[in-house]
């Protein structure tokens, strides 16, 4: 009989401790560095699994033109508050140049007209925001692969980094500016393009004029807007926050395939 009461006491105490830990504990746990590291380990497992289960050349679904969203939501920066950028907007990006450097044999500096003369790809794809919504749009631009072939990557190049004009961090310094990076699998993927047109028109400022990256098998925050410079690098640790992107430095996953 006393054994039964002990068991009841044990169960009651166990339930009380568990519920207290769940209600109060997870909140505090979220702030512990080791908890973040443990939770982070899932990202590598997810990336490894998706890279194993999905062919590196598999294409994201392309939609019919009548499925294009009438209203395509613009997130993040929608009009960079930067005098140099605004000067480019004022004269239609006529003397704007995209630079491509870093670990390449032949650094490039290309005008918008140069980019438009290169081979292009047009795709109607779904844009999935990390917040949960999706919009469908038509994008036309230069395959990143074509630019990288022209610049000839050095063998040690492992990531392609995109530097943007918008100061989303609102720090007033380079540290707050948007940037992103992708690995070589996505860099040479046929749907990875630098888009200068959206829905058949010149890319609007709200969506990243003059040039926006499209990485169709990942979430929207990978698809940097207002791309000003591209750099091939061997690692990401030395760049700004060290995690390979503006949102990555603020806790989001570098691999945004989920």
């Amino acid at each position: 009989m006393s054994g039964k009461i002990d068991r009841r006491g044990f169960l009651k105490r166990g339930l009380a401790i568990t519920s207290a830990a769940l209600l109060g504990g997870c909140e505090g746990l979220s702030d512990q560095p080791w908890v973040k590291r443990v939770l982070d380990s899932a990202e590598n497992l997810t990336r490894f699994s998706q890279r194993t289960l999905v062919s590196s050349s598999a294409l994201a679904r392309e939609y019919a033109e009548d499925e294009i969203s009438p209203k395509f939501r613009a997130n993040g920066s929608t009009n960079p508050d930067d005098s140099a950028y605004q000067a480019h907007v004022a004269n239609g990006f006529a003397d704007w140049t995209l630079t491509l450097g870093g670990l390449v044999e032949q650094p490039l500096a290309l005008s918008l007209a140069d980019l438009r003369k290169m081979p292009s790809r047009t795709q109607v794809t779904r844009h999935d925001c990390v917040e949960g919504w999706s919009c469908i749009g038509k994008w036309k631009g230069v395959p990143l692969k074509a630019l990288l072939e022209e610049a000839r990557l050095k063998p040690e190049a492992r990531y392609i980094v995109f530097y943007c004009a918008d100061d989303l961090g609102e720090t007033g310094t380079e540290a707050g500016k948007y940037y992103e990076s992708i690995g070589m699998i996505d860099a040479v993927h046929p749907q990875t393009i630098l888009a200068y047109e959206m829905n058949g028109e010149t890319l609007p400022v709200a969506h990243g004029a003059p040039l926006r990256l499209r990485v169709e098998r990942q979430l929207g925050y990978k698809m940097a807007k207002y791309v000003m410079a591209i750099e091939a690098v061997a690692g990401l640790a030395d760049l700004r926050g060290g995690r390979g992107g503006f949102w990555e430095d603020r806790g989001y996953e570098w691999y945004a395939g989920i």
Binding site: R8, V54, G251
Partner: protein
């Protein structure tokens, strides 16, 4: 017919272990999932989001000097202040969707919500596969969970017994009753796998490799809506499950799911 108090070994170790892991994992997945939902508290059908016509949406609306939380379902709007749309005054009505006490972390932090969610999603998959593998191999699924033809005929009677909160004793209590079998089967073979598949259907990476994920659910936004509905179904199941555990002998039930031992009370005997 057993006429004396028996102790039987009811739940195998694997079932007990995977049950409790699953309970913890589902709680974390639910709360981190609501955190993720709060980043855009609206649901749609189809491939894309028609922002003007969501199936369900929650919003905080400024009315004079106070903030009112509303929830709109299929075009009908309800005042849900304090619970949905706008949370408690304690935290300054900052929540747009579910209140702080239902989300992980409690404050708005989509990045941390995603980290909790995807880490525990892996635990959910590993634990679920272990359970299903064991259940198929050991015969647990066939022996304990699959209702017989005669049991299926007993469904209406079983509903009536449940409604009167009458629970079997003696030999009958050694097995799951038909409603238990059916609800457990729906959860382990339909709702939980559906959570995984609709979750994968929201992944742009998996969609590229397996576009079938989009076709079976009718688009990524439909997959997200079904993910929400299936999660709601699991919440309802758990609520009923806990209620049943509480009223049908809570200590006996809990002990059997912890130690495996379950006491069978004797059937009514004449003195």
């Amino acid at each position: 017919m057993s006429t004396q108090r028996d102790i039987i070994y009811r739940h195998a170790g694997t079932v007990r272990l995977t049950h409790w892991i699953n309970a913890l994992v589902l709680l974390v997945l639910l709360m981190s999932g609501l955190q993720i939902f709060n980043a855009h508290p609206a649901l749609y059908f189809g491939a894309k989001s028609d922002f003007d016509d969501p199936v369900l949406s929650m919003q905080a609306v400024q009315e004079g000097d106070k903030i009112v939380g509303t929830t709109t379902v299929f075009g009908r709007t309800f005042d849900t202040t304090g619970v949905l749309g706008a949370g408690s005054a304690e935290r300054g009505s900052e929540d747009r969707g579910f209140p702080w006490w239902a989300t992980l972390p409690g404050h708005r932090d989509l990045a941390m919500g995603r980290r909790w969610h995807f880490f525990f999603a892996w635990l959910f998959v590993i634990n679920g596969l272990a359970y299903l593998f064991y259940s198929f191999i050991s015969g647990h699924l066939r022996r304990d969970l699959t209702p017989t033809r005669s049991e299926l005929k007993h469904v209406p009677a079983s509903i009536a017994e449940h409604a009167r909160l009458k629970f079997p004793k003696g030999d009958e209590a050694k097995r799951y009753n038909v409603l238990q079998k059916l609800s457990y089967l729906v959860v382990v073979l339909v709702l939980l796998p559906l959570m995984l598949l609709t979750g994968l259907g929201m992944s742009p990476g998996m969609d590229a490799g397996y576009p079938l994920l989009l076709d079976i659910f009718g688009g990524r936004q439909s997959a997200r809506t079904i993910h929400f509905l299936a999660a709601s179904g699991i919440v309802i199941f758990v609520a009923v499950h806990i209620f049943m555990v509480l009223i049908s002998g809570v200590f006996n039930n809990l002990r059997s799911m912890i130690t495996g031992r379950y006491v069978i009370e004797p059937t009514e005997t004449k003195p």
